[in-house]
Symmetry: C2
Subunit: 598 residues, 2 copies
């Protein structure tokens, strides 16, 4: 079984040294978010993740969830329900929800490390509370007072959980095709009918009720995605006073058999005239969905980060323990029958790739959380607007890059184990299978790439890109002559120029051929991710100048930054070349000729 120790030292470095969280929280008016409180929250979160959740990771994979077809009830794996009760008792459910909605009102930047630890400890379990967040966001933004009292409150308290019911068998990305119907019943309720698939935590045994947020079409809906409305549909009907009534006609029809996250209930949900309430305005459901989706996307990025960190940690431990061959430069441990494999350059290449992408990715993701906090609490409209643009810009990068990297890191970590990595008992293959979902749900990598390039850069005229480039340039100017990081700043300045230039070139080409955008999107996304990470690695070294970390920690950062700039960042060369090659090599081939070799 794989182990998990929380990376508290690096988390504190990112929060307090790199992002100056104490100073920022004070400035943003998070009066309760003092260093003492934050340290206690981190310690307690680590304890919960490592002691309660991590031991349930393997059993969740082995036993999975099961459906009682007769009743439609879903049983979660052994221990999952009890762990959820502890989670609620610990007050974790409302950690970052504003106090006016019953939460603790802590910054999202504090919620991120907690979430990362939960995901690292037990990705499948983490999906049960996760989906409440989207429902919470939607009801906070668009719910009526009554809906907030009746549905939002139990969600924040953790007594109930939420779902996001979007996908149908024939439509995932293309929600304009959806067929679920909502018929007005004459009062303020609607009868919802249709089938939703891939509904995470759609049914389970952890709470008394489940709050489904459902996209459906009203009878007079215009065609396409502008005709979608959002409804709240509880598993058990609720009375005016919020008390639980009889069973609603929504039911889990089956559970999906998946490659991984077996402990997460992925449900087919059948709505058969189920009683629901409209959330927000008719036909404006897609906007509400994006409110739910944006936090969910950042959250999936954190899933990638958490799983990666656990895989990396286990690979390091194994590489220090496993004795095989001697070091190329001569025996290092003459008293042992062979040297530990961490002496071998190629094993180090894999480990350092993990370290560079995990620690860099952590800074990237946590910064997005800080921008999220600034966007709502910033001192000026200008500051809030810039932070908001940054969050929008960074969200697809965090989601897609951290999940793509999680596939790579869990691959490398498993590879460090050799054949043993393929055997279940070591737990590495579970991490690889679990990580694999993260590039798919809440929008595939391809969809994130289109969101970044098409919407955030092109449609929004690059406000987020400009803000990011501005940060990079001012940092590089300030550190251009630094003995240690001046060289990195030179690379970074060059890269920022190239990033801007590529953005302009793509925009120009897209003007004459609309396929150019999609042709460039994936490589542009990855180019963006690697450039952002270079910025965070350079900034990490700058932050170390002032901080007083342990020597091993600081040496680790310096060596990894060097590794990142020398050995990972050149990937941007390949991505830039692919971007510049344009659409023709992709679009020329007739669909029927793809498989002409058979």
């Amino acid at each position: 079984m794989s182990r998990y120790d929380a990376p508290l030292t690096d988390m504190r470095f990112v929060l307090f040294d790199l992002l100056q969280a104490e100073r920022e929280f004070a400035r943003l008016g998070f009066a309760d978010a003092t260093r003492d409180v934050l340290d206690a929250v981190l310690d307690e979160g680590a304890r919960f993740a490592t002691e309660v959740l991590a031991p349930l990771n393997a059993v969740g994979d082995e036993v999975g969830c099961s459906l009682d077809v007769a009743t439609g009830d879903v049983r979660t794996p052994p221990g999952f329900k009890q762990a959820y009760a502890q989670y609620v008792d610990g007050g974790w459910t409302g950690l970052v929800t504003p106090t006016e909605h019953g939460g603790q009102g802590l910054p999202h930047l504090v919620g991120f490390p907690i979430k990362e630890m939960i995901d690292a400890a037990n990705l499948a379990w983490g999906n049960f509370p996760l989906l409440s967040n989207g429902a919470t966001e939607a009801l906070m933004a668009f719910g009526t007072d009554w809906q907030r009292e009746v549905f939002l409150k139990p969600l924040v308290e953790g007594r109930w959980t939420g779902t996001m019911c979007l996908t149908e068998p024939h439509c995932g990305t293309d929600l304009g095709l959806l067929r679920t119907r909502a018929e007005p019943r004459g009062d303020d309720t609607y009868a919802i009918s249709g089938t939703k698939i891939f509904i995470t935590a759609g049914e389970h045994d952890m709470t008394d009720n489940i709050v489904h947020l459902v996209l459906a079409k009203l009878p007079d809906a215009p065609a396409g995605s502008r005709g979608i409305s959002l409804f709240v549909v509880p598993k058990f009907r609720v009375a005016q006073d919020g008390s639980i009534g009889e069973r609603n006609t929504v039911r889990c029809g089956s559970l999906e058999h998946k490659m991984g996250i077996h402990g997460s209930a992925t449900c087919v949900m059948n709505f058969d005239g189920a009683e629901g309430y409209l959330v927000g305005e008719p036909h404006k459901g897609l906007m509400a969905m994006f409110v739910m989706m944006n936090t969910a996307r950042l959250a999936v990025g954190l899933q990638g980060l958490g799983v990666s960190d656990r895989a990396y940690q286990n690979a390091v431990e194994y590489a220090k323990d496993r004795l095989q061959m001697r070091s190329a430069t001569g025996t290092k441990f003459p008293d042992k029958p062979a040297d530990p494999i961490i002496v071998h350059a190629d094993v180090r290449r894999m480990l350092l790739t993990g370290k560079a992408l995990v620690e860099g990715g952590r800074a990237l993701a946590y910064d997005a959380a800080m921008q999220f906090d600034i966007a709502s609490r910033g001192e000026s409209g200008t500051e809030r607007a810039q932070a908001d643009a940054l969050v929008g810009f960074l969200t697809p990068i965090v989601k897609a890059c951290l999940t793509e990297w999680s596939v790579e890191i869990t691959y490398d970590a498993l590879q460090c184990f050799g054949g043993h990595g393929y055997i279940r008992e070591h737990g590495m293959e579970q991490l690889a299978r679990d990580a694999r979902i993260t590039t798919l749900y809440e929008g595939t990598t391809g969809i994130q790439a289109l969101d970044l390039l098409g919407r955030k850069v092109m449609q929004l005229k690059g406000a987020g890109l400009e803000a990011m480039l501005g940060r990079i340039r001012s940092f590089c100017e300030a550190n251009a002559n630094d003995r240690e990081i001046g060289g990195y700043c030179a690379s970074l300045t060059h890269l920022a120029g190239q990033w801007q230039q590529l953005s302009i070139e793509i925009a120009q080409r897209t003007g004459s051929d609309a396929d150019e955008l999609g042709a460039a999107a994936y490589d542009y996304l990855m180019f963006s991710g690697y450039t952002c990470l270079a910025y965070w690695w350079a900034r990490s070294l700058a932050a170390l100048r002032d901080a007083t970390p342990t020597t091993a920690f600081a040496e680790g950062k310096r060596a990894t930054a060097r590794f990142y700039f020398e050995r990972i960042l050149p990937r941007t060369l390949a991505h830039a070349a692919a971007i510049r090659s344009g659409a023709p090599s992709l679009m020329a081939l007739d669909a029927e000729a793809f498989d002409a070799g058979r």
Copy 2:
């Protein structure tokens, strides 16, 4: 469930148009390998793979193998045993074994497409006959007349299967550490005692007997890998006349639970004074092992190729069927609610990556088989020596690149399915899990990289590299002014020069720092693989000038070659930069500082 149709058109193109197999087979004296015979063999192989093996792929994954702990017997998945009987009846087991050993004596180049189809249809099943090959090679090369009569003959006939018992719990790569002992018993037999792990097809119900080729140490063995001897140990003892006697004291202690290839029996084998016979000379077992290993490594490369092709095929079908969103350049199918996703540039990027790597990889692998045939049947000593150097050089490239690409291709293919790819019933996730073993067994990618750079390039003074560079240069010179491929030849010539230059630089740096070799090895391997593939894509277009394929087929090749040169080949930029960055960024960090962030 995923489908599989054999890529016979492309296979024939590679064999007959690209590699000129008819002419070559005649030249090499394979009198029976006429076009008629080869076409019939391919057709029949495709029929067996698609009709018999492919339908058993899912059930093999679901049911897997099971061990009766009381008896040590292993039951294979439903249908596996019957399929094996059909395989034997079809005469497939001795297809490429020389006629003097009871085989059909066909070229390895004919065996490769058959093996590719078997692996694509059912990778797990393919492992049962596969392991007989290594035992066959070892016994042909080193067995006594009696050993050949008694053990080799039933292996070639398929009545028995073979295994390769190398790995022990504490040693995989580093066989010098092995502990299995062989005690002489005074006659010509030895008592073998020890535990071997990861023994593919170590126990099963398909044949009356199993022939284990076992590495063990004699009592007077020198320390390390120079003290290893090879033994043949049958599951049932054999009398002098080859008849089956009583049960030998070798037994399956347990089956591994693995990420994939559930239908393949991966056994812990306990040898408890089991009766065995020395194969070859004492203490020379490692050389014999490499004889077994080399064909096994090429075979695993074919596994990667086969699984990739099946994944690619299913992704293409899905992309043509799945309707989602409209094309960026306007509606393509107005009569449908949305366009098929194959209209989207990013989906095409993933599909074309698969097509480029599968079809290029097929040419690369089949060429290695042809060199294998030339190495044993070439007309002159010079020709045979050059072919032998090429096989040795190409083996780690075929093994490592085709398996690394299989991880990428099964990733991309699954990604084309979106969330549906993560669901078992589509069969895509099984392909991804099955592919994952191929970069691990028969030597990890890291080991292949060291074999290529350390042994094949450095120790053997680059004979194989020089031969490959010579082929590239003479092809490029001959086609430099070609309207269609002249540009590709210019890129390729540049790349060949860079390849040679990098080899020299690494050799020089390794002279002053032994870690430079391991630091460069992985990126050098991948650089080599992409360069070889560029050669085969250019040659494919050249071959199309003379051949008369269907238009769709030729267009597919041309579009894919362009895609390969424009969008895949730039990856060499990143690999070259990583190679040139050298060892320091890998070796600086103290082992204890890797996880200082916790």
